[in-house]
């Protein structure tokens, strides 16, 4: 039962919050309720869930039969001919590295790098998930303050003795940039802290590679949105958590398959 301090129309205002039709004063009021009254969070969840379920009310349309194969082909990098990694030293010109010769079996989809205000915070940290459930309903400045505290805690948790830590230097393509890469082999997660690595356009992304015996292993991708940015993600390959590898960052087109083709922007010390 709702607290007697909530006005009678509290559910209508929550509905307005989901529909995004509130004034800034109404928004502030709702967000205060969410902080003060747990029943409002539960009800907002129900309303949001109702709104999010609307696509299921549509009469299903038949799928184009060729689409399944097209999608599965798009995600299988091993189906493409393996290419040597173009360069391990900084490029001598600003035009970047030559494009890898990769045959594309279908039209390139139009992608756009979608970035969130904070990285994938909370992998393996249970207490963060609870806080995150509230973050979506908090005001932007509250979110940023909370994210900053969480980032500090995450960096601290990653800095364990024995965990691989890489210092990345900017290449000629981005001489001012630097990075620190912390890897947690137990949770198979990476934490990338970049300084002065510029945000990329919407259709581009930075990709991390581990050089294992001359072959680049894809280790994740990110796009910083501030001069000092922290990003965290799950590692796609266990080779990414080895400590005796060279780590490289390139600038890629987001639509491209995970094979390095773009400019080298950051690199750790060579292990050869």
């Amino acid at each position: 039962m709702p607290s007697t301090s909530l006005p009678d129309n509290w559910r209508l205002l929550l509905a307005g919050y989901v529909l995004d039709d509130l004034t800034s004063e109404e928004t502030a009021q709702v967000e205060q309720w969410l902080a003060d009254y747990p029943e409002t969070v539960a009800e907002l969840t129900m309303l949001q869930g109702t709104w999010d379920s609307l696509p299921e009310s549509l009469l299903p349309q038949p799928l184009p039969p060729h689409l399944r194969n097209q999608v599965m082909t798009a995600i299988e990098p091993r189906s493409m001919a393996p290419q040597p990694f173009p360069l391990l030293t900084p490029p001598t010109s600003s035009t970047g590295l030559p494009q890898a010769q990769i045959a594309r079996s279908q039209e390139e989809p139009r992608f756009s790098a979608r970035r969130f205000p904070w990285g994938k915070v909370g992998l393996g940290l249970g207490w963060v998930a609870t806080a995150l459930a509230l973050m979506a309903v908090m005001q932007e400045n509250q979110r940023l303050r909370l994210a900053l505290r969480q980032n500090e805690a995450i960096v601290a948790s990653f800095s364990q003795p024995g965990n691989p830590l890489f210092t990345l230097a900017g290449t000629e393509a981005e001489p001012q940039a630097s990075g620190r890469l912390l890897v947690n082999p137990t949770t198979q997660t990476a934490l990338m802290i970049t300084t002065d690595l510029p945000p990329l356009e919407a259709d581009q992304v930075y990709r991390l590679w581990a050089m294992a015996e001359g072959n680049p292993i894809f280790c994740g991708q990110f796009n910083p949105d501030t001069a000092q940015a922290t990003q965290e993600w799950a590692l796609p390959d266990s080779a990414c958590s080895a400590s005796n590898v060279q780590m490289l960052v390139t600038a890629e087109r987001a639509a491209d398959p995970p094979v390095p083709a773009g400019s080298l922007v950051l690199q750790s010390q060579s292990q050869s």
């Binding site: 307005g16 109702t50 696509p55 299921e56 973050m135």
Partner: protein, 195 residues
């Protein structure tokens, strides 16, 4: 008869979405094929409804699934795979339609997907998927037509309240009250409060 495939009947493995995602992110891309079989029709249907163009809907469907695998933005603690895919599809469709005033607004709406918790607070949590769809359609049928209309325009066309008011030739206050009441009524029909 359910128009959407039911995982138990159609998938040999009957693997949970959670397990499929875990396998997918450990590199087993065959898991995406199963997720595709479960959700591609919903994604494509939504994309087609919003974009009104089958080539664009195909393109968006491919983008949604490839991004799901490649960008790993889905967080299981923040909601179900179906909810994530639906919200992501809608968000990307709105981007393509270039409505609702720009990326900041779209991002904000997208972030609210986290509220559909996987711990059982969504209205349709305890029904099978086909039951959910039937319940939802039945509930929508029970809404006053004026309320249903503004909700569907807001969701599938991504128009703001003022844009809807202009489109329908009714006052902004009327749009607000119809859509808010409609959402509350729909929510109550799907799962009556205090039960």
């Amino acid at each position: 008869m359910s128009p959407f495939k039911e995982p138990d009947a159609q998938d040999p493995s009957s693997e949970s979405d959670h397990d499929l995602v875990a396998r997918l992110w450990s590199g087993q891309t065959d898991a995406l094929a199963v997720l595709y079989d479960r959700y591609a029709q919903m994604v494509y249907t939504l994309a087609l409804r919003m974009l009104s163009n089958s080539a664009e809907a195909e393109d968006l469907t491919q983008e949604v699934f490839v991004n799901f695998w490649q960008r790993r933005q889905y967080d299981p603690s923040r909601g179900s795979v179906g909810s994530f895919l639906a919200t992501y599809t809608r968000s990307r469709a709105l981007d393509r339609l270039r409505v609702s005033g720009g990326r900041a607004v779209i991002l904000q709406r997208f972030q609210r997907l986290s509220l559909a918790s996987s711990t059982g607070l969504t209205p349709l949590e305890h029904a099978s998927r086909s039951e959910q769809q039937q319940q939802l359609r039945a509930a929508l049928d029970q809404l006053p037509a004026t309320e249903r209309e503004v909700l569907e325009i807001a969701y599938f066309e991504g128009l703001s309240q003022s844009q809807i008011a202009e489109k329908l030739g009714i006052p902004l206050g009327t749009v607000k009250s119809r859509s808010r009441q409609g959402l509350l009524r729909l929510r109550d029909l799907l799962q009556p409060p205090n039960q």
